[in-house]
Symmetry: C2
Amino acid sequence: MKIKKTHKLSGWELRFYSHDSRSTQTEMKFSVFLPQGVEKIDSAIIWLSGLTCSEENFMAKSGIGEILRDTSTMIICPDTSPRWLDLPWEHESYDFGSGAGFYVNATTDWYKDHYQMYDYVNQEIYNMLIEHFDISDEKISIMGHSMWWHGALILWLKNPDKYQSVSAFSPIVNPSSCPWWQKAFTGYLWEDKGTWKQYDACELINSWAQNKNPILIDQWTVDEFLKKELLTQNFVEACKAQNQDLELHMREWYDHSYYFISSFLKHHIEFHLKNI
Amino acid sequence: MKIKKTHKLSGWELRFYSHDSRSTQTEMKFSVFLPQGVEKIDSAIIWLSGLTCSEENFMAKSGIGEILRDTSTMIICPDTSPRWLDLPWEHESYDFGSGAGFYVNATTDWYKDHYQMYDYVNQEIYNMLIEHFDISDEKISIMGHSMWWHGALILWLKNPDKYQSVSAFSPIVNPSSCPWWQKAFTGYLWEDKGTWKQYDACELINSWAQNKNPILIDQWTVDEFLKKELLTQNFVEACKAQNQDLELHMREWYDHSYYFISSFLKHHIEFHLKNI
C-alpha cells in the first residue's frame, strides 16, 4: 500500500493511497481524511461516490474537513471502479464500466475477473479500516451518493453487524425497476434475475427483520433522476411495511450536485456520530 | 445581467451570473454566495482566485458555505480574465492570457481593449455589490489566492477607503522581482517600469502612511513557488518599515492547493467579519 499524495490541513491530514487489490486484480485507489492531534481515531465512515467520480471528488468538493474538525472520526473514500483496464464497453459511457462500478460482484465473462466492487468495499476497504487504521469493527458506518448509496444500503442490509448506520444523498433504491441499473445489471450480472434481487434494496428490505438504527436520506424533490431512476417512494413503502425507521428529507429546489451534498453533509455526519 | 445557474443550499443560495462588462468589452462571469433567511445581507467579501481558475473553483472547493452559515455576509467571485477572445498568445500558457488576467489594466496594443481587470474588479464588481446587492460601501472586504491576492492587495493599498480589510493565501507580493509577473507585466504593460511599480505591493507599501486594519496572510513554508515567485519576506520587511500590522502565518507542510485554502479559510472569514 503506497501513499501517493498527502495534503496536510488544519487539524487534519488528507492522504491518497494506491494498493494492489485482491478483489479487482488491479491497482485501486482510495483517499482518507485523518484527524490529527487526537489521542486515537475511534470511528470511521466509508463514503461511496456517485457515477463518474474518483476517490478525489468528495474530498475536494464536500467541505468535509470543516465538518469533521474536532471529532475523532476518519472518512475513507474508495474509487468507484477498477481503472486502467480495457474491457469491452468499459470506457464507452459514463454510466457503465470505469467510474460506474455500481457496487456489484460481476458475473459476466467480460467483467467477473475485475469488477468485484461489492467485495472490494465490504472486505478490503472494511478490513483496511480495522487492520491498517486500527478502527474497531463496532465503529464503522457507511454513506454515499446516487448509484453508490445503493451500494451503501446493500452493504448495510446484507451485513447488519458490520455497519452501525447508513445515510444517503439522492440514492437509487429500487434498481431492478431503474433503467440505469437494468443496463448495469445486464452488463455485470447478465439476465439472472435472482442475482439482481440480491442487489436491490427494496427487495432486500422486504425480507428485513432487523431492529437497526434509522436510515437517513436526503432527496431532491425536483431531481431530474427522481422519477425514472431513484424511485424513492418505493423504498419509503418498503420501510413502512417492515417498521424500519427512515428519516427522509425531501428537499425542494436542490439538485444532484456536490453543492447539494455539502449543504446537508453536516447533518449526515452528526447522524453517524450519534449512531456509530 | 443574467443568472446562468442557481444552486440552492441549506441556508444559502449560490448563483452564477454573466453580464456585459464595460471594462473588458466582453461578457464576464462571476458567482455569488448569498445567505437566505436573514433580514438583510449587510457585508460582502470579494474573492479573487489564482491562475487557471474560473468563477467556479472557489465555490466548489473551498467549503465556504459551511463557514459562512449563520452570518449575513455574501461573497462574490469574479472570473480571472476575459474569455472567448483570440488575442495573440492568449491561450498558449497557463500563466498569461485567459485564466491569468493578473489584475492589471493592460496598456499593450494587443490587450488594452479587453484586459482591464483592475477596473473590472475595482469598479464594476465593487459597484455591483452596492447597486445590485445593496451593500454599504463601508462593508466590503477583499481576499484572494496566489496571483490574485496581489490584485486584492493592490486594490486595498490604492483604495484605502473602499476596502475594510484584506487577506491572502500564498500571495505574490513583489511582482517586479518575480518571473511570473515579469512575463505578465511585459505582455500586459510592455516595458514601462513606472507602470509596473503601480502594481507592486512592496513598492506601494513603501509610500504607505495609512493607519489601516492589519493584513492577514497564510503562506506555505515549503511552497514550491515561495522562493522564486511569492517573495513573502520582501513584503514582511516593507510592512515593518511602514509600521503596517501584518498577521503572517507560515504553515509548515502545506501546499498551494484549495485544500490549503479550505484549511484556514474559517480564520480568514472571521478576520474579515471582525474588521468589516
